[in-house]
Symmetry: C2
Subunit: 140 residues, 2 copies
């Protein structure tokens, strides 16, 4: 029997200049303190994945976003669960950035500079692969 | 306002020899009749994606499967909805193949021969990319 598979989501919030929003994990977290990430989290039981993208972004940044496309999916193991992380491209439709206690800084980072930031190791290769693909496609 | 995003799932059922199960869409379908595909379908409202993988596979093939890993995600547009298709690797844990009326044939196809089969155009590049990656990784 495999560990159960659980769905989490991330929102890549893009700005007009080809940057994405990174937020830094605060000391309120048990893991990956100081690492920079895209907003997101677990899909609640019974919740639609698209609703979760919007809700998690709102909870973590106070921004209202709308999904515009797919970034892709990646997989990593946690002690008790296999996490499938589904990442969506989004754009801001309202709100101003106000972080929750889970994060203590935010930064708009050009995708071409993502390599310079400390990213959580479980998702860093996936994030950098997306950045590379976007740059090749001329989106930035 | 974008079209809403909706989640669908597919099960890549792998056999010991590195083949995957393809099933052919019957004339009972409105679209893509005669095309070969992996089992799967829409995630129901309130349903967990992993439950949907197992349920759709059971409904379409009578096989009981267990998820073992991630294939990846792809995106295509339908007239009223943006479909995010999340594909999972699975293995058989019970049952024998019996198709529903939605499909009229099945075949175990080595990933290296996937190019020879008529695949639905919306997902064919994604399926072939997975096959290529798996072959490069020496899984077949």
């Amino acid at each position: 029997m495999e560990k159960p598979f659980s769905l989490a989501v991330k929102a890549v919030i893009l700005d007009a200049a080809g940057g994405c929003l990174l937020i830094r994990r605060s000391a309120a977290n048990l893991h990956f303190v100081g690492m920079w990430e895209w907003p997101g989290g677990k899909v609640d039981s019974g919740e639609d994945f698209a609703t979760a993208v919007v809700r998690e972004t709102r909870e973590e940044t106070s921004l209202e976003v709308e999904i515009t496309g797919l970034v892709g999916a990646t997989h990593f193991e946690m002690p008790k669960v296999n996490v499938i992380l589904l990442c969506m491209e989004t754009r801001i439709v309202g709100g101003e950035i106000k972080l929750s206690e889970e994060h203590d800084q935010f930064m708009w980072v050009p995708l071409s500079e993502l390599t310079r930031w400390p990213l959580p190791e479980q998702v860093a290769p996936f994030m950098l692969e997306y950045a590379k693909r976007s740059i090749s496609a001329g989106h930035t």
